[in-house]
């Protein structure tokens, strides 16, 4: 057995599609659980939970490994899928003049490459909407702040929160008539005391506000996206595509890995169906909820 067969053989390619696909299904579950923080808890509590989750996701070393695996899986799944599709196209150079494929298979099962490509495009847009903005955008992300009202002066005051549960008044970072600001934000979310050049703490990037605003809800930090309607529609559509992709992909992965047993097939199929409806539906619910409760 040549070593290259592990990559090149048509059956081995299917194993990779299946393994990466199933791994991405796991990822979807994790991602969904996080996203649900956006709507499960109301107000400040929800914001806090979501931003903490976002921080955890970007800083926990295990999660980091998982996220690299996820990127790799997406890449592999896409590249392998494209290679398979090209090969498959080549296998029938002349097509049928009259074809009735619906008589023997589901359209989404035949259009996995198209559905997958749409999902890939979606992932790129999705990441540029949030992940890229959060990590690399030259536009600094707003940081998570809370507004408290001083019981004595009765004046509201905004405070940044840090991971160590310290609070810095936002005003400390602003130049005023009193003089130059004492504090400064570096690297997006690190609070520095300018005079002594010491890092005083780390703030939470306010992904919550970014997301909620993106889907049309005004927040203290960011104004609502004017084209939120379009964004919501696009996200919901993408989830429908994902659902169709999963509708075939989930149980198909088991078949590719050789798991096909008269006793369990019905169970796998049913689970696959439920998974491919529930997960994308739950994802889609979030922007819809935000949009309609603004």
């Amino acid at each position: 057995m040549s070593k290259s067969a592990i990559l090149s053989s048509s059956i081995a390619k299917k194993y990779w599609m299946a393994l990466t696909g199933l791994f991405l299904c796991l990822f979807l579950v994790g991602h969904l659980l996080g996203n649900l923080q956006l709507i499960l808890k109301a107000g400040e509590e929800g914001k806090r939970a979501f931003n903490e989750y976002a921080y955890f996701m970007t800083h926990n070393p295990l999660i980091k490994v998982m996220s690299y695996l996820t990127y790799l899986s997406i890449l592999f799944h896409a590249v392998d899928g494209i290679l398979l599709t090209i090969q498959n196209k080549k296998a029938r150079p002349i097509g049928y003049a009259h074809n009735s494929p619906n008589a023997n298979s589901k359209f989404f099962a035949r259009q996995m490459a198209v559905l997958g490509s749409i999902i890939l495009i979606f992932i790129v847009i999705h990441m540029s909407n949030f992940w890229w903005k959060m990590k690399y955008s030259s536009d600094p992300m707003p940081l998570h702040s809370i507004t408290v009202v001083d019981p004595q002066s009765k004046t509201p005051q905004s405070l940044y929160i840090t991971h160590s549960d310290n609070y810095f008044p936002v005003s400390a970072f602003e130049n005023s008539q009193m003089g130059e600001a004492q504090m400064e934000i570096r690297n997006g979310n690190e609070f520095f005391n300018k005079q002594v050049d010491v890092k005083m703490g780390e703030g939470y990037k306010d992904l919550y506000s970014l997301t909620v605003a993106f889907f049309g809800k005004d927040t203290d930090a960011i104004k609502a996206n004017e084209q939120a309607g379009l964004a919501v529609a696009f996200y919901v559509l993408a989830m429908i595509v994902l659902s169709l992709h999963l509708m075939h992909g989930f149980s198909s992965a088991f078949q590719s890995l050789g798991v096909n047993h008269r006793r369990y097939n019905a169970g796998i199929k049913l689970f696959g169906k439920l998974f491919s409806i529930i997960i994308p539906a739950a994802f889609a619910m979030i922007p819809l909820y935000i949009f309609f409760t603004k």
Partner: protein
């Protein structure tokens, strides 16, 4: 059998030989008995063409009882036509309406090049079989008694179900990827299920899959079209079994 007669319009792929381009041609055929098989209708059309001094249409066929696997034809967009679990020779004209337009095309696959009209070359299947579709026992008859190795009935039955494949190529023709996995899976499964076949299981699956790839068949994407169109109802289970066998072989082969 109360006979009825219908008229049909036929759109048929005509191609002089492997090196020329082909195209769809239209023919009208009247008074076709609904008790006729599809190929008897083709005979009738050819008879008409011969009488009109036109060249008759070449198509593969032999046993005309659904077992030799020689007949093919992609009829109205489906391998072996609109009926299920039949070959073209078992398809009857009662499945068509009077005045119906019927498209008749050859199997389409890079691995099954057209020889003429509706005749394609399926020798790729033979070569896959030659790569490993056998048990290496010599033909001396000096084997052990047939009942010396009991085989669980369930395994024997499943092996038979896999072995019922007639090698017609409908799986390839109807697969959007022109994949031959159902054919190869069935053969691999038949032997994998029987004690006699287990000895060579590793090499068999590796060699047959390698040959399948060399022939230019596409990859399986589990759409299940092959299983639906297979005239012998060969199950997708056989593909899964081959996937298992291949994985085992890939990991253990030296």
């Amino acid at each position: 059998m109360a006979s009825k007669y219908i008229n049909v319009n036929l759109k048929v792929w005509r191609q002089k030989n492997a090196n020329t381009k082909g195209k769809m041609e239209t023919y009208k055929l009247d008074t076709v008995s609904t008790d006729s098989s599809f190929l008897e209708m083709m005979d009738q059309l050819n008879e008409q063409l011969i009488n009109e001094r036109q060249e008759p249409i070449a198509f593969d066929h032999d046993c005309r009882e659904g077992i030799c696997g020689m007949c093919s034809l992609y009829i109205n967009g489906r391998a072996h036509g609109p009926d299920n679990a039949v070959t073209t020779c078992q398809l009857h004209m009662r499945k068509f309406d009077d005045g119906a337009t019927i498209y008749i095309e050859p199997w389409r696959s890079k691995a099954f090049p057209v020889i003429k009209d509706l005749v394609v070359d399926r020798s790729a299947f033979d070569r896959i079989q030659q790569a490993g579709g056998f048990v290496s026992v010599n033909t001396s008859g000096n084997t052990i008694d047939a009942n010396a190795t009991p085989i669980p009935k369930a395994d024997a039955d499943k092996a038979f179900e896999a072995a019922a494949c007639i090698g017609c190529g409908a799986c390839v023709a109807s697969c959007k990827n022109s994949s031959a996995m159902l054919f190869v899976g069935a053969k691999v499964s038949q032997y994998a299920l029987l004690p006699q076949g287990k000895v060579e299981a590793t090499n068999r699956v590796l060699n047959m899959v390698r040959q399948m790839e060399e022939e230019g068949f596409g990859n399986c994407t589990n759409t299940g079209a092959c299983e639906v169109e297979c005239p012998k109802g060969i199950s997708l289970e056989n593909i899964a079994r081959m996937n298992r066998e291949f994985m085992k072989a890939m990991i253990t082969a030296e």
